[in-house]
């Protein structure tokens, strides 16, 4: 699997290259700026791109804008955006086109190689991966008493959180140590309680949940 990396800090860039190569990815290009990134995407046609939000020359949200630009140029280009901070505002912008194949994770998640590379693979496969912190804040925001969320059981809420992070039924089952059938029952109940259209497509399901939470 071919990856393009955009990260301005040398140590982190180097670390990312080594980590991804250790897990069998092929790093097509590793660049330090937004403009270079778009050029590398054009030239390399990677399967997935990993981009830091803050890049030179502005050191603001250059990376996010470059990622969105690259996706406009190469529709459906899988992009995983890394950041020192997660902002719901940015998550919304990444999700806005509804095409999926996006990820938004805290840089800390790189520390767990297994989980991080799993996230890269899921994004490359067209999935949506949201950082647990984004989800936690979305859930907190919806915690008010009259929200339909209060009708969910604690277990269903747990499943909803994992689902919103972008995990498949199988992954949720493995995480909660239950059968996939049990997870499927929970998700069906959640969709019924929240008045959402059930869907077999994992990614469409994630987007529906995120849209619901982000209303």
């Amino acid at each position: 699997m071919r990856v393009v990396i955009a990260e301005d800090l040398f140590l982190l860039r180097d670390g990312l290259i080594r980590l991804l190569e250790a897990y069998g990815f092929e790093v097509a290009a590793a660049v330090a700026g937004g403009a270079d990134f778009i050029a590398a995407v054009r030239a390399g046609r990677p399967d997935v791109a990993v981009v830091d939000v803050r890049l030179p020359p502005t050191f603001t949200d250059e990376g996010l804008r470059a990622a969105l630009d690259a996706r406009r140029e190469v529709p459906g280009l899988p992009v995983l955006v890394l950041s020192q901070y997660v902002e719901q505002l940015y998550a919304r912008e990444l999700l806005a086109d509804g095409a999926g194949a996006v990820g938004y994770l805290l840089k800390d998640r790189v520390l767990d190689g297994d989980q991080f590379t799993d996230a890269v693979r899921r994004v490359a496969g067209g999935g949506t991966v949201m950082d647990p912190e984004v989800i936690a804040r979305l859930l907190a925001r919806n915690a008010a008493a009259q929200s339909p969320l209060s009708r969910l059981s604690p277990r269903e809420r747990e499943v909803l959180g994992l689902m919103a992070e972008g995990r498949s039924n199988a992954a949720i089952a493995a995480r909660l140590v239950v059968t996939e059938r049990a997870v499927a029952k929970h998700t069906a109940a959640i969709f019924a309680k929240l008045d959402l259209q059930p869907s077999d497509d994992d990614n469409r399901r994630v987007l529906a949940v995120l849209a619901y939470l982000g209303r």
Partner: protein, 461 residues
């Protein structure tokens, strides 16, 4: 001295022409008589006690000098007068001076509303400090203020010139009406008594027609001159009551010194907090991580399993340190604010709030960074207040920039009754904005809705 306040009055929108405008001016002029009388009474209350004291003491001393101790018959009376005078100075004077100040503020208000002549005010702020002021502090605050003396001068000027300016038009108009009506009414039987009561003026040719013409002329003169004299009255008030440029500058300097001190204090406290957070948080975790890694290094050959557990522990500690640093940075300068500016930062804030927050309005540029930051934290504090205290379900943040002012309002559908003097939160926001000459206005009637509006003068870039 030429100041903004003492510029000659020009005809403004406050002045209406015609009979209606004339009548309105007459009514307003008569309305000014109330404050005038109250002012005269207060002037007596202020001037009386010192005068009484001086009179009593003067007579006592005069007696002493000319006759020796205990000889004058009037000694007890003079002594009593002096004591009453001193007592009044002690207890009546401060209250009377403050009442005069309120009266002067009322006059300024009415001058703007009724005469179309706005009059600025500049009083020294009440000395800071908890609790009631002592007599000495109070008097030195009041008497050391140029504004107090302006108020007193106004009372004197008003008592002397006010009646002329205020009552001449009304008297003219009144005389005119009487001259017009009396002969006319006199011809009607039921009112014939009036003619005996107010006999027609004894001059040749005083037919009802002549009287009516004279009456009309008087009334017209009164109605015509009413608005002008009212405006003149406002101008006089401005001449006496408006602060001098020097007084305004002194107040400005005092305000700047105070806000600068508060800003520095806040900054220093903030730095101490950051230092403490780093020391107790990320720094401590990094030390612990170093120790764990060191232990893992020693164990790696003899007990690889234990070393592995320690390495995982070190990784978790680094994640916690990162999380703490993240929170710290968010509190110093939120990343979205740096990335996108105030408008998007407020939208991000709204998304993070547990309430449903709608963000409306927009900005065509970015305010200076310190203003952005102050406004951001102010809105953050206000939204946190709403979530904590107001019992609200929804809030709205509106921002706009017009005529050199950044204006942001935060409203909620909660219970209302927010008092800026009770909560330290609102006071802190106010202090933070004051450093930029910003102001905060709170409207929170019981039952809601609460609207807090902040305004900071600044340019967008």
């Amino acid at each position: 001295m030429t100041t903004a306040a003492s510029r000659p009055a020009v005809r403004g929108p406050g002045m209406r022409r015609g009979v209606g405008g004339g009548l309105l001016a007459l009514a307003r002029a008569v309305g000014f008589v109330g404050p005038l009388l109250a002012g005269a009474a207060l002037l007596a209350a202020v001037a009386g006690p010192p005068a009484l004291t001086a009179l009593g003491l003067g007579r006592l001393i005069g007696n002493l000098v000319s006759h020796g101790i205990g000889t004058g018959n009037d000694t007890p009376r003079d002594l009593l007068a002096a004591l009453i005078g001193v007592g009044c100075c002690r207890f009546v004077l401060p209250a009377a001076l403050l009442a005069i100040r309120r009266l002067a503020m009322l006059t300024r208000h009415l001058s703007a509303r009724w005469c179309g002549v706005p009059v600025a005010s500049a009083y020294a702020p009440r000395p800071a400090g908890p609790g009631r002021l002592g007599y000495q502090q109070r008097m030195s605050w009041l008497l050391g203020d140029e504004g107090t003396w302006r108020d007193l001068a106004w009372l004197a000027v008003n008592a002397a010139a006010g009646p002329v300016l205020l009552l001449v038009p009304a008297t003219l108009a009144g005389t005119g009406v009487v001259a017009f009506l009396i002969p006319a009414l006199g011809s009607l039987a039921p009112f014939s008594g009036l003619q005996r009561l107010v006999p027609p003026p004894p001059f040749p040719g005083n037919t009802p027609l002549v009287l009516a013409i004279i009456g009309l002329a008087f009334a017209a003169l009164g109605l015509w001159s009413g608005p002008w004299l009212l405006r003149g009255y406002g101008g006089l008030a401005r001449l006496v009551l408006a602060p001098s440029g020097q007084a305004e500058l002194e107040l400005r300097v005092r305000h700047l010194a105070q806000t600068r001190r508060e800003t520095l204090d806040t900054g220093a406290a903030e730095l101490r907090r950051i230092e403490r957070d780093l020391h107790d948080g990320a720094q401590a975790r990094l030390v612990a991580m170093g120790l764990t890694l060191d232990a893992a290094g020693r164990l790696i050959d003899t007990d690889p399993a234990a070393a592995r557990a320690l390495l995982i522990e070190a990784r978790d500690a680094s994640a916690k340190a990162l999380a703490e640093l993240r929170d710290l940075v968010r509190g110093i300068h939120p990343p979205v604010l740096a990335d996108r500016g105030l408008a998007d930062a407020l939208r991000a804030l709204a998304l993070d709030s547990p309430l449903r927050v709608r963000v409306t309005g927009s900005l065509d540029g970015r305010p200076p960074a310190p203003v952005e930051s102050a406004a951001y934290f102010a809105v953050s504090e206000l939204l946190a207040n709403v979530a904590k205290h107001a019992g609200a379900h929804a809030a709205e943040v509106d921002m706009r920039h017009s005529s050199g002012n950044l204006r942001i309002s935060v409203s909620d559908d909660g219970a209302g009754g927010a008092d800026p003097r009770r909560g330290t939160g609102l006071r802190g926001v106010e202090r933070r904005l004051a450093a930029f000459d910003g102001v905060l206005a709170v409207s929170s009637p019981a039952g809601g809705p609460t609207v807090v509006t902040m305004e900071v003068p600044c340019a967008l870039s």
